[in-house]
Structures are given as structure tokens and as C-alpha cells.
């Protein structure tokens, strides 16, 4: 190679392509932010040169419409870049301590999204990198993981929407959205979302299957055949209070105003292994749920636990059993897992484990369970895999297993691995 003439657009496009390639292949997020940020500077100028409005101009205009004091565009642009740490990752000033607090995953995703808006304005939305990123988003953003269950109960007829029952099938109805437009991306953010551990002060004793729950509505249960709410309430409340009191928390909740819109339940592994724990599902009878008297057990304090391991039982956002779920695809599950990691670190736990599966579409469609990629994005690694106990008997769910294996084969996963339960683990020490 020697001196050649390059168009500015080409330089930006190549950097954005690299950023997306690094991002979807799970590589370094700092590099993604820097490359997407550099590409966006060039692309934004080219958009302006074409007389079009840039992402930043649109944001600034929106802000001004709210009645705020007018902010000069360069100042606004710098503020947006600072929010994404684009400048922090390429400069270090004299006298600064050099520490940065950021959510690298979210910043990387946002930096790419921002640059893509400019790219699409110049090149349209049918270019390979746009399509590739859309495909990744469809597979990986949180609409794909509204509910991650530890012990799924496999439905008899795959692809059939299951009504909630006491043994609770975990079908996830509702369509996968497309990656969408700039307007969609802007609407992805939930202002003032609070993600916090659930203590024994307010106990969410039932789950979000039917939609967000408030302190007032938690005891107003939907009328559903087969679910004996009062019995579950009497079993779950003392149990969850006791676990929360012993260990500090047993769930992470995401709250939008008064509404709890996300839940991540977790338990110490020693409790999961106790007699009577069953699958610890709060809306099922033993053995899928805990026994009626499980709260009477003595739960060992943390200091007496040798293997300080937390197990993620389930992750749920919005209203998984409703066709419209406005709380999916907003990063809530990711934020809850991150909050759990922080909480575990701060409270002396050493590991977090979660069950997962291969990234096979029908797994999401039927069970709502996340593929391992969701956990790997958050730093988890696979430590064990084995055929899921519920899927060992091929004759039990023959049709489902056949589809599962066909889909696995189509996307390059050995069919014999399609039924595997993958144990994901994160060391937090």
C-alpha cells in the first residue's frame, strides 16, 4: 500500500464497520466507543454538508422545545460525547486521577447507534453494516430476554401461546421488534428508572407475568384459574422477608415511578439445595415452587457459608404474558444483572451462577429463556453443560425437540447440543 486518495466517508464507514464488528463479536468495548465516536464526527459533518439535520441538532432542538435555555450546538455535542465517554477514552489530562465510571456496554451500544443515525442519513438503511447491526439487535437486545428462567417447564406444543396456570408455562408471546429508527432508539430510554435491591421493607411476593406491579396493586391479584394467590402470598411473604433479612436482599427490582417493571430473583445456592426448596418458583406448588413450610428452615448466615454462590432464578421485564410489552428492549434486564453484580461484590459473595441455553430462536419463543450470549455480554462464562433434565426423554417433547434441533443445525450449532442447559458463572471477587 502507498499513498492513495480516500473519501472522508470511506474512512468513517470503515471505522464504523470495525466498531460494529468488534461489538457483535463481543470484543473490547472501549475500542468500539472510540471507533464509533471517530466515525460519527466525520459522518455528522458530512450530514451537515448535505444540508441535513444531525442527531445532535435534533436532540438540541428537542431540548430547546422543552423550554430550556438555548445551548450552543458545539457545547451540546461535547456534552453528548462526554455522556458516551468518547473523549475520555482518548485523552488524559495533567492532574486528573484517571478513573472513569461508565457502563461500557451501554456506551458502546449508544455510540454505535448515534453514528448509525448519521450513516443511514448518508447511505440509507440497506447497507451491510446496518443490516448486520439490526440483526444483532433483534437477537440480543432485551426484548429477547424478557424472562430468563432457571427451571423452565417445557410446553407440550411449541409455538403455542400458553395461558398462565399454576404450573406456569413460560411462553413468551409478542413479536420481536425491529431495530427501528432514531425515534425508536430515543424512546428506548426510560427516564428515572431506578434499579435497586429488594429488601425486607417492600416484598414483591408475586411476579410480573401480568404486567408492572405497584405497592398498592401487589395484593390485587388477577383472577386466574389454577393459581391460589392467597396461599402463595402466605407462603412467599415470610419466606422472602426471611431471606432478605438474613442476606440483605433476594431480588433486584427495576422501578419506573411507582411501577415495578423488572425483577431479577436470586438466592444463595445453599438455600436452593435445601430440602423443600424445589425450583423456588413463587407461583408454583412444590416441587416447582418451595414447600409450604420452607420459611421454617434455618438459613445459614453468610459467614457460615463455604461456597458463597448466588444463583439467578429468573429475570423478567414488563409484562411477559401481554402481547404488548413496552418495557422490553430497554436494557432493563442488563441493568438488573449489573446491579446484582454490584450488590454481590458489596455484600461478600464470590460467584453468581445462571442457567442458560444455546442461542436458538425457538428457545426464546417458547420459554423466554436467554441464550448464553446475553450472559457472556455481562462477563459470565460457561462452566458446565448437560442435557436439560426436562429434555432428556425425547418422546416427552418430540415435536419441540425436533424443531429445536432443526433450528440449531440451520444456524451452525450441533443438533446434539440443542437440548443442553448451560451453566454460566461470574466470579465477582
Amino acid at each position: 500500500m502507498s499513498i492513495q486518495i480516500y473519501s472522508r466517508f470511506e474512512l468513517a464507514e470503515n471505522q464504523l464497520t470495525s466498531a460494529i464488528g468488534l461489538f457483535v463479536s463481543g470484543r473490547d468495548r472501549f475500542s468500539v466507543i472510540t471507533l464509533a465516536g471517530a466515525a460519527d464526527v466525520i459522518l455528522s459533518r458530512l450530514v451537515m454538508n448535505e444540508g441535513k439535520e444531525t442527531f445532535t441538532q435534533r436532540l438540541a432542538k428537542k431540548e430547546a422545545a422543552k423550554g430550556g435555555a438555548p445551548i450552543p450546538l458545539p457545547t451540546y455535542g461535547r456534552a453528548v460525547n462526554d455522556l458516551l465517554f468518547i473523549n475520555q477514552l482518548k485523552h488524559m489530562d495533567e492532574g486528573e486521577d484517571g478513573f472513569i465510571d461508565l457502563d461500557v456496554e451501554e456506551c458502546a451500544l449508544a455510540a454505535i447507534s448515534k453514528a448509525l443515525v448519521s450513516y443511514v442519513a448518508l447511505a440509507g438503511d440497506q447497507k451491510d453494516i446496518v443490516l448486520a447491526f439490526k440483526a444483532w439487535a433483534r437477537q440480543n437486545l432485551d426484548h429477547m430476554v424478557p424472562k430468563v428462567v432457571r427451571t423452565p417447564v417445557w410446553p407440550m406444543r411449541p409455538n403455542t401461546r400458553m395461558e398462565p396456570t399454576a404450573v406456569g408455562p413460560l411462553a413468551r408471546p409478542g413479536a420481536r421488534g425491529s431495530f427501528g429508527t432514531l425515534a425508536d432508539k430515543e424512546s428506548m430510554m426510560i427516564e428515572d428508572l431506578v434499579v435497586e435491591p429488594m429488601t425486607d421493607v417492600f416484598v414483591l411476593w408475586r411476579c410480573l407475568h401480568w404486567g408492572p406491579i405497584t405497592r398498592c396493586s401487589v395484593d390485587q391479584c388477577p383472577s386466574t384459574d389454577g393459581i391460589t394467590w392467597e396461599r402463595y402470598r402466605q407462603r412467599n411473604l415470610p419466606l422472602l422477608r426471611k431471606i432478605a433479612k438474613t442476606y440483605g436482599a433476594c431480588a433486584i427490582l427495576a422501578r419506573d415511578g411507582d411501577h415495578i417493571v423488572g425483577q431479577l430473583r436470586f438466592y444463595p445456592k445453599v438455600i436452593c439445595d435445601l430440602k423443600g426448596a424445589g425450583g423456588l418458583c413463587l407461583q408454583q406448588d412444590h416441587p416447582a415452587g418451595p414447600s409450604e413450610d420452607f420459611a421454617d428452615h434455618d438459613f445459614p448466615p453468610l459467614a457460615q457459608i463455604e461456597d458463597k454462590i448466588l444463583v439467578v432464578h429468573c429475570v423478567m421485564t414488563g409484562s411477559p404474558l401481554q402481547r404488548e410489552n413496552s418495557y422490553q428492549r430497554k436494557g432493563i434486564a442488563t441493568r438488573m444483572v449489573r446491579a446484582l453484580i454490584q450488590w454481590a461484590k458489596a455484600n461478600g459473595w464470590e460467584r453468581i451462577e445462571a442457567d442458560s441455553f444455546e442461542d436458538i430462536p425457538i428457545i426464546y419463543e417458547v420459554t423466554g429463556s436467554a441464550g448464553h450470549t446475553f450472559w457472556e455480554k455481562l462477563g459470565f462464562r460457561m462452566v458446565d453443560r448437560h442435557v436439560h433434565p426436562e429434555l432428556q426423554d425425547r418422546s416427552k417433547f418430540a415435536e419441540f425437540i425436533t424443531t429445536l434441533e432443526e433450528q440449531a443445525k440451520a444456524i451452525g450449532i450441533p443438533p446434539e447440543q440443542a437440548r443442553d442447559r448451560l451453566v454460566m458463572r461470574l466470579d465477582v471477587t
Binding site: 500500500m1 502507498s2 474512512l11 485523552h91 488524559m92 484517571g98 465510571d101
Partner: protein, 158 residues
């Protein structure tokens, strides 16, 4: 939300840049990542009390021209020569096209960043060794070493 030190960000970006370079991936991205790493490593090397790539280059320039260039101005000059500026800025009156030698500039940007990284961490890590090995075989390592040996002491890094 997690806490990082900028050193982590610089190292990660440099590792990615070396990996992309040796795999034959996009040179523009290599230049930008190596440039970003240098923006942090320069300050860290300075704080460690060692001579940075930039300060060494300024010293060489002083030997040649008799005048020590200002740090900020010379940093900008080097970033322009290495193509770093062209990959992260575009001004209203810039032309739509630009002449670059991307391969040469990517190698140069990496050489600068790796130099500062070695000042901080030595040269034992695999990605550093990999780049040094590439450099030795593709940038006339023996010839450069011979010229280095013959150079007067005042023109050598401290």
C-alpha cells in the same frame, strides 16, 4: 456502572489495534485506536518520570533545527503525520477526499503507542512481542538497529 482506570482503556485499545493490524484488518481503525491509546499513555509515561515518545521526538527535532517545538503543537504535528487527525476530525472547509498512506501510518501510530506502553510495562506481553516481531521483520529491524548504534548519544532515547 463500573470503575476503570484510563490505563485499562488505553491497553485494551492498543491490544485491539495490534490484533487488527496483524490480522490485516482496516488500517483506519488501527490508526484511530493506536492514537487514542497514545493520548492516554503519553500522560502516564510522563507521570512515571520517563521520557515519552513525544518528548523524545521533540528532543530529536531540537537537535536538528536548534529549537525545541512546543509540546501541544508537536503532538498535533505527529498526529497529523500519522493520520490520526484525519480519522477523527472533519472541518467545514476540508475537502471530501484526502491522501493517506494508511499502511505506513498505521504502523507508525502503533510504533508510537507501543513505545510508550513498553516504557510503562516492558515488552514481555504477547501482543507487544507480536508487534515488535512484525516490526523487526517488516521495517528493517537490523538496519534500524545499526543506524541506532551509530547515532550520537544525544539522539537516543533516555
Amino acid at each position: 456502572m463500573s470503575r476503570f482506570h484510563k490505563y485499562d482503556a488505553a491497553k485494551a485499545q492498543l491490544q485491539t489495534a495490534v490484533s487488527m493490524f496483524l490480522e490485516g484488518c482496516d488500517r483506519s481503525s488501527v490508526i484511530t485506536l493506536a492514537g487514542a491509546a497514545s493520548g492516554i499513555l503519553d500522560e502516564l509515561v510522563r507521570r512515571s518520570g520517563q521520557e515519552t515518545f513525544l518528548d523524545y521526538a521533540r528532543r530529536v527535532q531540537r537537535e536538528r533545527s536548534g529549537e525545541m517545538p512546543k509540546r501541544t503543537a508537536y503532538s498535533h504535528h505527529i498526529n497529523t503525520r500519522l493520520g490520526v487527525i484525519a480519522h477523527k476530525h472533519l472541518w467545514p472547509d476540508d475537502s471530501d477526499t484526502i491522501e493517506l498512506d494508511l499502511n505506513e501510518q498505521a504502523a507508525g501510530a502503533l510504533t508510537r503507542a507501543i513505545g510508550d506502553y513498553i516504557s510503562l510495562n516492558g515488552e514481555e506481553e504477547p501482543f507487544v512481542k507480536a508487534f515488535l516481531s512484525w516490526s523487526w521483520h517488516n521495517q528493517d529491524g537490523p538496519g534500524i538497529m545499526e543506524r541506532f548504534r551509530q547515532a550520537p548519544k544525544r539522539l537516543k532515547p533516555k
